[in-house]
């Protein structure tokens, strides 16, 4: 194993990435009062008095840095705000921002990214309070890497391991928008049409969910790399339940569906940057759905699945025409023609 090299799939959010983290980085974990590294959750939660300090960090690389519907600046703010929100911390105290730039990076682009970050921070009500800047030589890094860290206080932490058989699973809107918009632009496939990334901070939406669902909101995760399929596998594995996913109930925009069909890609494994997957106790499902649908970011929220006692750790897909197992994505989905 030691002579193996790191491959792109090790960063793609699927099975390979989880294996790498478990094999290499889990050794860094030590016991904490709360949720630490070993939980492999969206962030950590440390007990501070009778509240929780939630901390999360994320480095952002995306090619291209400007894409339909957003850019790497908006992505860096949204990604970290969303990781906090998925732990139940919807009011960020502060963000940090570290920037690594490649020699020759246009200053105009940098200012454009700053403006985008500022706008997104205002949207999320999350101030950037400190930062760091480094420049590397030409070719030593691809354009720009943005790292953001977020901290927030929460009264109650929502993990991603809380499902029990019978719980309902909600997705807050259409899936696949971000990944397909970026992929089309990256591979210049000329099929862009109305494809737009969904990148957005979700803390406002999650606030409403928690207000409506309270303690009955038992699991949350944002389906970024690896998409809905990856998140459901993680939730099923951590809670030791099976999940039955109703494919026809999963909202997919027609543009995304068409592009996926042409390229032979399953929208369920495509990345999202402005959606959440939420597990709720069965009695709270209607309440939470009503709260979601009355929020502009949750109008297309849908009940898509149920946790089962059978087949722990696995996800069963009901296609409307039959049933099969949903495979955990292995790596980055690639268009069939590339």
């Amino acid at each position: 194993m030691a002579d193996e090299k790191v491959a792109l799939k090790h960063g793609a959010g699927g099975r390979a990435m989880r294996a790498l983290i478990e094999d290499v980085f889990l050794k860094l974990a030590s016991p904490v009062d709360g949720i630490g590294l070993s939980a492999l959750d969206d962030g950590a939660a440390l007990r501070v008095g009778d509240r929780w300090l939630v901390v999360t960090t994320d480095s952002h690389v995306v090619h291209p840095i400007f894409f339909p519907g957003g850019d790497i600046g908006r992505l860096a703010i949204s990604g970290t705000v969303n990781d906090l929100a998925m732990m139940g911390a919807t009011e960020p105290l502060a963000l940090t921002c570290a920037v690594i730039l490649e020699e020759g990076f246009p200053r105009r682009d940098l200012e454009r990214l700053r403006d985008s970050m500022l706008a997104t921070c205002r949207e999320a009500n999350a101030p950037i309070v400190t930062g760091d800047t480094k420049v590397m030589g030409k070719g030593e890094i691809d354009g720009v890497v943005l790292n953001t860290t977020g901290v927030a206080l929460a009264d109650r932490v929502v993990s991603d391991a809380g499902l029990r058989p019978g719980d309902r699973i909600i997705v807050t809107g259409s899936v696949g928008d971000h990944g397909m918009a970026v992929m089309m632009r990256r591979h210049q496939l000329g099929l862009e049409g109305d494809l737009r990334s969904d990148v957005a901070p979700l803390n406002g939406l999650v606030r409403e969910v928690l207000r409506a669902g309270g303690e009955d909101v038992v699991a949350m995760k944002d389906p970024t790399r690896g998409g809905l399929a990856s998140v459901l596998h993680e939730m099923a594995g951590k809670a030791n339940v099976g999940i039955l996913l109703q494919e026809p109930a999963v909202p997919v925009n027609p543009e995304v569906r068409a592009a996926c069909e042409v390229l032979g890609i399953d929208p369920l494994v495509v990345a999202n940057e402005g959606k959440a997957v939420i597990g709720v106790r069965p009695g709270a499902a209607d309440r939470v759905m009503a709260a979601l649908r009355s929020h502009p970011q949750g109008r297309r929220a849908a009940l898509v699945g149920t946790a089962l006692g059978e087949r722990p750790g696995q996800v069963i897909l009901d296609t409307g025409l039959g049933r099969r197992m949903l495979a955990e994505p292995d790596g980055e989905p690639l268009p069939r023609i590339c």
Binding site: K9, L191, G193, D194, G242, L244, P248, P254, E255, R257, A258, E261, V262, G264, L308, E310, R311, I316, L317, D318, T319, G320, L321, G322, R323, R324, M325, L326, A327, D330, G331, R336, I337
Partner: protein, 377 residues
């Protein structure tokens, strides 16, 4: 584009339910178990696996994928020829799936890693363009695919290719393989589902002698889930009635005569010759090779291909445990292979069926394997 997809009605759950109920009635009326039918196309397997159709089939019905992946049945010595040509300095162009297909000791991807000039193309005309751009090089198009794809190769040859381009054909002819598989006693296939896209070229009439001679009904099917379901219902009905006929369930694309100009092109350039299909058998008239009058574009004539130099003496212990041959003959299912999903995965394929997106093992792997889902409420 989007609205066209939305309007596709060949995935309607209510219609699918009606068809699966009809299928259950037909299988019941037949009163035997198991009833085995075979399709011979990776795209049919994709539709069945992707939409989870097997979970709605009656338990006594076995729908088996036969030799329906042209990449998978490309024989080891054919890969060796391409690897040898790359080693001899030719620029070898081929379709993407062919790159990782194992030869005796090397694949084309290995040949590329060794410094050989190997290139992926998406069409034969792209290979011709490449040859035009590099007049000083010898460019070889390693042509794979069934009769559908062979037509494209034929059309290009007829239109005239650059002097420095030649064709290494591993094109295969499906009807010939159906003869072989239907003769295998172990599989006991009672009916065939024929591939709709191949039949758009050949016409459905081509299966009539086969059905008569073997006493096996054939149904031509399209590739949407409802196409496949409807074809299976019809096939079981024909089996129940004991009628070895050909029924065209894909009339929106397929006619009895097929595409005459395409057939003319195909047979002007290619002839059916006996050949080995990987892991299956020698298939009489199963390979499509260039006719003698096209010798000058035939790589096998242009070059003295030295496969001995790339043939491997090393024994691959993993490959010895691979059961792709049995899978392609319909004798075993991918999940009956000890390597499936473990040592053999899409990123590290051991057998041909895990290499191509048309291969049974790859398809089953992508769509979650094949546990029995009928017991899950």
């Amino acid at each position: 584009m989007a609205s066209a997809i939305e309007e596709l009605k060949f995935r309607d759950p209510a219609k699918a339910r009606a068809l699966t109920e009809a299928l259950a009635r037909e299988v019941d009326a037949l009163g035997r178990s198991p009833v085995s039918v075979m399709h011979v196309c990776g795209s049919h397997e994709q539709a069945i696996a992707r939409f989870g159709l097997r979970a709605s089939f009656p338990r006594s019905l076995d729908v088996i994928m036969g030799p329906g992946c042209p990449v998978c049945v490309t024989d080891t010595p054919e890969v060796d020829e391409a690897v040898a040509l790359a080693a001899q300095g030719a620029r070898v162009c081929t379709y993407g799936d062919m790159l990782r297909l194992p030869g005796t000791s090397k694949s084309l991807a290995d040949a590329q890693a060794d410094g050989g000039k190997v290139e992926v193309v998406y069409s034969v005309s792209q290979a011709a363009e490449l040859a035009r751009r590099r007049p000083a090089e010898q460019v070889v198009f390693f042509a794979s695919g069934f009769e559908t794809t062979a037509v494209a190769t034929a059309a290009l040859v007829l239109a005239g290719v650059p002097d420095n381009l030649s064709v290494l054909s591993s094109h295969k002819y499906v009807p010939a393989a159906m003869d072989v598989v239907s003769g295998m006693k172990e599989t006991n296939i009672e009916g065939f589902i024929a591939a709709g896209h191949a039949a758009t070229i050949t016409g459905w009439g081509i299966f009539e002698p086969f059905a008569r001679q073997t006493g096996t009904p054939v149904v031509v099917a399209g590739f949407e889930p409802l196409d496949v379901l409807a074809a299976i219902v019809e096939l079981v009905r024909l089996i129940r009635l004991g009628r070895p006929e050909v029924v065209n369930c894909y009339p929106r694309c397929v006619s009895k005569e097929g595409n005459r100009p395409a057939q003319e092109k195909l047979w002007k350039v290619f002839q059916a010759v006996d050949g080995n299909w990987r892991g299956i058998a020698r298939v009489p008239r199963g390979n499509l090779d260039l006719k003698p009058e096209w010798e000058r574009v035939n790589a096998r004539h242009r070059f003295a291909i030295d496969t001995a130099a790339v043939g491997g003496a090393e024994r691959n212990l993993l490959a010895d445990r691979c059961i792709c041959g049995s899978i392609m003959s319909g004798l075993a299912k991918p999940d009956q292979c000890a390597l499936f999903g473990k040592e053999c995965r899409p990123e590290t394929p051991v057998g041909a069926c895990m290499v191509s997106s048309e291969g049974a093992c790859k398809i089953w792997h992508v769509y979650g394997g094949h546990p029995n889902l009928q017991e899950v409420a």
